[in-house]
C-alpha cells in the first residue's frame, strides 16, 4: 500500500504569488494513497529539507513528491534529503510548479487548478517508482588529447603533472599548432616560439606523455572511463628510432617546389621534410603525394644519403588500439580563405595576403627572415592597409560571428610593421575595435597613439591593382561616410576564424555535437564550457570557437582539471535512468525477438547482442542487451521496440501512462 508524501514549496513568492499553495496542499491531501501533504515557504532550505525527512520517518512514506522548481534545479537536493531519511532517492519525484505554472500564468483559479493537476501526475507516477541503485563503472586512468597546438599541449602537461598517463595525437608531423607559426604575441609582443618551444619539448620528454604525431583518430567506441580508441599512425616512411634528425635527406631531396604549409604557401619545401626547425619530434616525414619515388617509382636519393639507413619506403600505416578513460579535444581552428570575397582580390593580386601569411612574414624564422616585403617584387611596402572583419560579422557573405582574435592581431600586425618600417604608413579599416581582455585596449591605444597607426572606422568595398599599386576603396564613417581611397603597396586581410577541416568528421566519430559552423559544442554555454554533451569528452581551445592564446590555455587547464577529477575516482557512479531489455526464465529468456531495430537507432551505440545457449552450448536465442555504461536514457529504443520489450528505468511505459491517465481522469 503506497504512502505518498507531497511537499508544496512557495519558492518565496515565485510560486505562491500566482498559485494558491494552501489549496493545492489541501486538495492533494485528500487523494487516495497520499499519506501526508503540506506547504512551506522554502522547501530547499535546511528546515524545509528537515520537514521532508521528518515526514518520511513519521508517516512511513513510500514515495515523495516535491512540488517546487524545475528538477534541473533541485532534484539532487531533495533526492539526497530522502536518502538521508532512509528512502531510496529514486522514490522522490519533482512536480515543476514554478517554470511550468506559476511563472507563466497569472494569478487565478485556473492556475491553481493546473498546479494541482501537475502534482497529481507526479503522485500517480511515484506510486509506480521502484528503488533503483546507481550504476558503477570502472575508470581507465589514461587520457587522450587530440591535437598538439597550445591548448592540447597545456591540457596534456597539466594532466600528466597530476600523475596520470596521457596519449597525445597530432595529425601533422609536428606539434605546435598555429602558435608555432606566429611571430610575436599580443599584448606583450613576446616571441611566440620562444614561449612555446620549451613546452613542446616538455611534452616530448614527459614520462607520462606518449606522443603520436602524423596520426589521426580512426574510431572511438565505449563510454566515459572506458573508451576504446583506434588511431592510425600514418607511415612516415622512416624508422624514427634510427633516424638522428641530421636533415641530410631534406637537403638532397630533388623535389623542392612544394608549397610549404608552415609558411602558408610563401615558401617551398622538399618532399621529405621537417615542417620547421624547432619541430617536435625533429624527424622528417615523406610526403607521399609529392615524393618522386611514390609517384614515379624511382629516386630514393634520401635512402642513399641517409647515414643511418633509416628510410623505409615500404612502411605501412599502423593501427593502434588504445584504452582511454577521458578525451580532450583540442583540434584548433583554421582561417577562412578569402576567395569568397572576390572584391578584395585575394588570390588575384600577389600583394594581398592573409593574417597568417603576415605572421610568417614578420617572423624571424619566416620566408623573409622577419622583413616585411611584398610577395610580388620583394620591395618594402611604404603604405600598408589592414582590413579587419574580412568575412567575420558578415552574415550576407561571410560568417555571422565575431572571430574574436582579429582586432588584437591586426593591431599587433600594424605595430610590428611600424617597428620594422619606421617611415611606412599603416592603415586599419575596422567596424568596431573589440579589445576586451587584460591589457588589450591599452595595446590597441599604443598602436594608435605611439605607433601612429591610422585607424579608419569603415568597411572596404573593393581592392584592385592599378599601375602596380593596390587601390583600397572604403568609407570613413566617423567623417560622415566620406569615401576613402588609399593607394597601398600591400594589403593584409584579417580573415575569419573557422572550424578546422575534418572537425565535423571527428565530431561524428566522437559522438559529440557541433554547431552550424562545425565548431564543437559545449554542454552549457555558461556553466559547462569545457564539457561536451558526451560524458568524458572535454574541449580545449579554438575547436570550440575562435580564441586567443590566454583563453585557449585557460580552457585547456580547465579541461585538465575535469579529467583529473574524473581520474580521482576508481569507480564512476551514474544515475541508473537507463533502458533495459526484459529478461524472463528459460525457455522465454526475453520477449525481445532479436530484430535489432533498436541497435540501428541508438545514438550512443549502447545496444549489444546477447546470446543464450542451451546445455549443449548451442545458441538458442539472441536478444538485445543494453550497455548501461553507454546508455543515456533517451528512450528512442523504447519507442521503437515492436515487441515492447524495452523499458526505461525511472520513466517506464507504465509510469508515463499513469501520468497521462491522471490528467484524463476525474479525481
Amino acid at each position: 500500500m503506497a504512502r505518498i508524501g507531497v511537499f508544496i514549496c512557495h519558492c518565496g513568492e515565485n510560486i505562491s504569488a500566482t498559485v494558491d499553495c494552501g489549496k493545492v496542499a489541501e486538495t492533494i491531501g485528500k487523494l487516495k494513497h497520499v499519506a501526508y501533504s503540506t506547504e512551506y515557504k522554502y522547501m530547499c532550505s535546511d528546515p524545509g529539507q528537515t520537514l521532508i525527512k521528518d515526514a518520511i520517518k513519521e508517516h512511513k512514506l513510500t514515495g515523495v513528491v516535491v512540488s517546487a522548481c524545475s528538477p534541473r534545479m533541485h532534484e539532487p537536493t531533495f533526492r539526497k534529503a530522502c536518502a538521508e531519511a532512509g528512502l531510496n532517492p529514486f522514490l522522490c519525484e519533482m512536480a515543476n510548479l514554478r517554470e511550468h505554472c506559476s511563472w507563466v500564468h497569472e494569478k487565478n483559479e485556473l492556475t491553481t487548478q493546473k498546479a494541482i493537476d501537475i502534482v497529481r501526475t507526479q503522485v500517480e507516477k511515484v506510486k509506480l517508482n521502484s528503488a533503483l541503485q546507481p550504476i558503477k563503472v570502472p575508470v581507465t586512468k589514461t587520457a587522450m588529447v587530440i591535437g598538439g597546438g597550445i591548448a592540447g599541449i597545456q591540457a596534456a602537461l597539466d594532466i600528466a603533472n597530476t600523475g596520470h598517463k596521457v596519449v597525445m595525437i597530432e595529425r601533422s608531423p609536428s606539434i605546435g599548432g598555429h602558435m608555432s607559426q606566429l611571430s610575436e604575441t599580443f599584448p606583450t609582443l613576446d616571441c611566440s616560439q620562444c614561449i612555446l618551444t620549451p613546452r613542446m619539448v616538455e611534452v616530448a620528454q614527459h614520462p607520462n606523455i606518449t606522443l603520436y604525431t602524423y596520426a589521426e583518430v580512426e574510431s572511438v567506441e565505449g563510454f566515459i572511463g572506458n573508451f576504446k580508441v583506434k588511431i592510425r599512425k600514418k607511415a612516415k616512411s622512416l624508422d624514427e628510432k634510427i633516424c638522428t634528425g641530421c636533415g641530410l635527406c631534406t637537403t638532397k631531396c630533388p623535389q623542392k617546389k612544394i608549397p610549404n604549409e608552415f609558411e602558408q604557401g610563401m615558401g617551398m619545401r622538399p618532399a621529405i621534410y621537417v615542417p620547421f626547425p624547432q619541430a617536435v619530434p625533429n624527424r622528417p616525414v615523406i610526403d607521399k603525394e609529392h615524393c618522386t619515388y611514390y609517384i614515379k617509382g624511382k629516386c630514393k636519393i634520401c635512402e642513399v644519403v641517409c647515414p643511418t639507413k633509416a628510410i623505409r619506403f615500404d612502411q605501412p600505416d599502423e593501427i593502434l588500439d588504445l584504452e582511454i578513460g577521458a578525451i580532450v579535444v583540442a583540434t584548433g581552428f583554421d582561417i577562412k580563405h578569402a576567395d569568397f570575397f572576390p572584391e578584395y582580390g585575394y588570390g588575384k593580386y600577389k600583394d594581398i595576403i592573409d593574417g597568417l601569411q603576415f605572421e610568417r612574414m614578420a617572423s624571424a624564422s619566416g620566408p623573409t627572415s622577419g622583413e616585411i616585403r611584398r610577395p610580388s617584387d620583394g620591395q618594402v611596402p611604404k603604405n600598408i592597409v589592414f582590413i579587419a572583419c574580412a568575412g567575420s560579422r558578415d552574415p550576407a557573405k561571410g560568417i555571422a560571428y565575431c572571430s574574436k582574435i582579429c582586432c588584437m592581431y591586426t593591431a599587433k600586425h600594424a605595430m610590428l610593421y611600424k617597428h620594422k618600417v619606421h617611415e611606412g604608413r599603416a592603415h586599419v579599416f575596422y567596424m568596431d575595435i573589440r579589445s576586451g581582455g587584460k591589457n588589450y585596449d591599452e595595446f590597441v591605444r599604443r598602436a594608435i597613439e605611439e605607433d601612429h597607426v591610422n585607424y579608419i572606422r569603415g568597411r572596404v568595398s573593393t581592392v584592385f591593382e592599378r599601375d602596380g599599386k593596390l587601390i583600397v576603396k572604403g568609407v570613413d564613417t566617423l567623417l560622415g561616410a566620406q569615401p576613402v581611397e588609399i593607394v597601398a603597396d600591400m594589403v593584409v586581410l584579417a580573415t575569419a576564424g573557422v572550424a578546422n577541416a575534418g572537425a565535423e568528421d571527428l565530431a561524428q566519430k566522437l559522438h559529440v555535437s557541433y554547431d552550424q559552423h562545425k565548431f564543437f559544442a559545449e554542454a552549457h554555454p555558461k556553466l559547462k564550457p569545457v564539457e561536451t554533451n558526451t560524458a568524458g569528452i572535454f574541449l580545449a581551445g579554438a575547436c570550440q570557437n575562435p580564441k586567443d592564446i590566454p583563453d585557449a590555455v585557460s580552457q585547456a587547464s580547465g579541461s585538465a582539471v575535469k579529467v583529473a577529477a574524473l581520474f580521482s575516482q576508481d569507480m564512476l557512479t551514474r544515475e541508473p535512468l537507463v533502458a533495459v531489455v526484459n529478461r524472463y526464465a528459460p525457455p522465454m529468456y526475453s520477449t525481445c525477438v532479436g530484430c535489432f531495430l533498436c541497435q540501428s537507432v541508438c545514438p550512443y551505440q549502447a545496444i549489444e547482442r546477447e546470446e543464450f545457449k542451451n546445455r549443449e552450448g548451442k545458441v538458442v536465442k539472441t536478444v538485445a542487451k543494453i550497455n548501461e555504461g553507454l546508455c543515456q536514457g533517451c528512450g528512442t529504443c523504447v519507442a521503437l521496440c515492436r515487441s515492447k520489450s524495452i523499458d526505461l528505468l525511472g520513466y517506464s511505459n507504465n509510469q508515463v501512462h499513469a501520468e497521462v491517465m491522471a490528467l484524463l481522469n476525474e479525481y
Binding site: F341, P342, E343, K348, T462, F464, E465, R466, I471
Partner: protein, 281 residues
C-alpha cells in the same frame, strides 16, 4: 519552345542600336522571337520608389500577356527591365496572397511560368553553342567588360554570376577572341537615372569607369545595358567636359561584338548610331 522578347522603352528609343544588334544576331543564328503584344512600361526606377503594388503590377501584366500568348521564355535585353521582371516573378512566387491581389489589379491570370532571360543568359543558351563555327572575324581586341548594377543584382533573387566580380560577359567575350582585361570598375555605378537630373554626377561616375578602361589599354568597353550605354556613350561630351579631357574609347553592346565577329556589317548591328565613333569593325 516559343521565345518572346520584351523590348521596353529604351530599345525602341535611345538604344535602337542595341535592338538592331539583338535582332541581327538572332537572324544570323536562325533564332526567332515574338514581341510581347501590347506591352507596357516595366515601371523602371520610378514605380518601385513610389508604390510597391504598382511596381509589381506593371511587370506582372507583361508576364501575364506573355503567358497568355504561350511564351515559354522571354528575353529581356535591358538590364533594368530584366531586374523588374525577375524581382516581380520572385515576389509573387513567394507570396500567393500578393499574387492574387496583383491578378485582381491587372484583371488577368498570372501563373509565373515564363522563364525570364537576360541577354547573356540568352547568348549562353542559344548563341554560344554555335558560335565557334560562325566566327569569321575573331574579335581580337582588349575589352573592359562593364556589367553595371542591375545585370547581376539582387544576387539573392537572381542567383546569377558572382555579384562583386561577375564573369559571364568576360567569358562570352573571350569566346569571341577578345581579351577581357582585369577591370575593377565592372560593377561600379555609372550614375544611372541621374543622367537627366544630375548630368554632373553621371559625368563624374561614368568618367571614372571610362578613365580606368582607357588607362588599362582597353580598345572598347563592352556593356549589356542600354542605360549604361547611354551614360558612357551619349553623355561622353559632358564627361569629357567635366574631366577636361578627350576620352575616345568606344562603348559597344555585347551583341554588336558578336555581330561583328560573325561578319555582320557595322551598319547592320547599329554601330553607326553611336555618339562616340567606333573605329573597330
Amino acid at each position: 519552345m516559343k521565345t518572346g522578347i520584351y523590348p521596353g522603352c529604351s530599345l525602341t528609343g535611345s538604344a535602337r542600336d542595341y535592338n538592331e544588334s539583338v535582332f541581327a544576331i538572332a537572324e544570323a543564328f536562325g533564332l526567332e522571337f515574338i514581341q510581347i503584344p501590347d506591352w507596357n512600361c516595366c515601371g523602371a526606377t520610378a514605380a518601385h520608389n513610389l508604390n510597391k503594388e504598382l511596381s509589381l503590377a506593371l511587370p506582372a501584366r507583361i508576364l501575364a500577356i506573355a503567358e497568355k500568348n504561350g511564351l515559354d521564355e522571354i528575353i529581356v535585353p535591358c538590364a533594368a527591365c530584366y531586374s523588374r521582371l525577375v524581382v516581380t516573378q520572385h515576389e509573387l512566387k513567394k507570396d500567393p496572397e500578393l499574387k492574387n491581389r496583383i491578378c485582381e489589379v491587372i484583371e488577368m491570370d498570372y501563373r509565373g511560368t515564363s522563364v525570364i532571360l537576360n541577354v547573356i543568359e540568352w547568348i549562353d543558351k542559344y548563341i554560344v553553342p554555335k558560335l565557334e563555327e560562325k566566327i569569321v572575324k575573331p574579335f581580337n581586341y582588349k575589352v573592359a567588360c562593364y556589367y553595371g548594377c542591375l545585370l547581376v543584382r539582387p544576387n539573392k533573387i537572381l542567383n546569377y554570376d558572382r555579384v562583386e566580380d561577375p564573369q559571364t560577359l568576360d567569358v562570352v567575350m573571350s569566346k569571341l577572341g577578345a581579351t577581357a582585361i582585369d577591370y575593377p570598375y565592372k560593377t561600379e555605378c555609372c550614375g544611372a537615372g541621374l543622367s537627366i537630373s544630375r548630368t554632373d554626377i553621371v559625368s563624374k561616375l561614368s568618367g571614372k569607369i571610362i578613365e580606368d578602361a582607357e588607362h588599362r589599354g582597353a580598345d572598347a568597353i563592352v556593356v549589356a545595358c542600354p542605360m549604361c550605354h547611354s551614360n558612357l556613350d551619349m553623355r561622353r561630351p559632358d564627361i569629357n567636359k567635366y574631366w577636361d579631357t578627350e576620352f575616345k574609347i568606344p562603348v559597344i553592346f555585347v551583341t554588336q561584338a558578336i555581330g561583328l565577329a560573325i561578319g555582320l556589317s557595322p551598319q547592320k548591328v547599329g554601330l553607326r548610331r553611336h555618339f562616340v565613333e567606333v573605329k573597330i569593325s
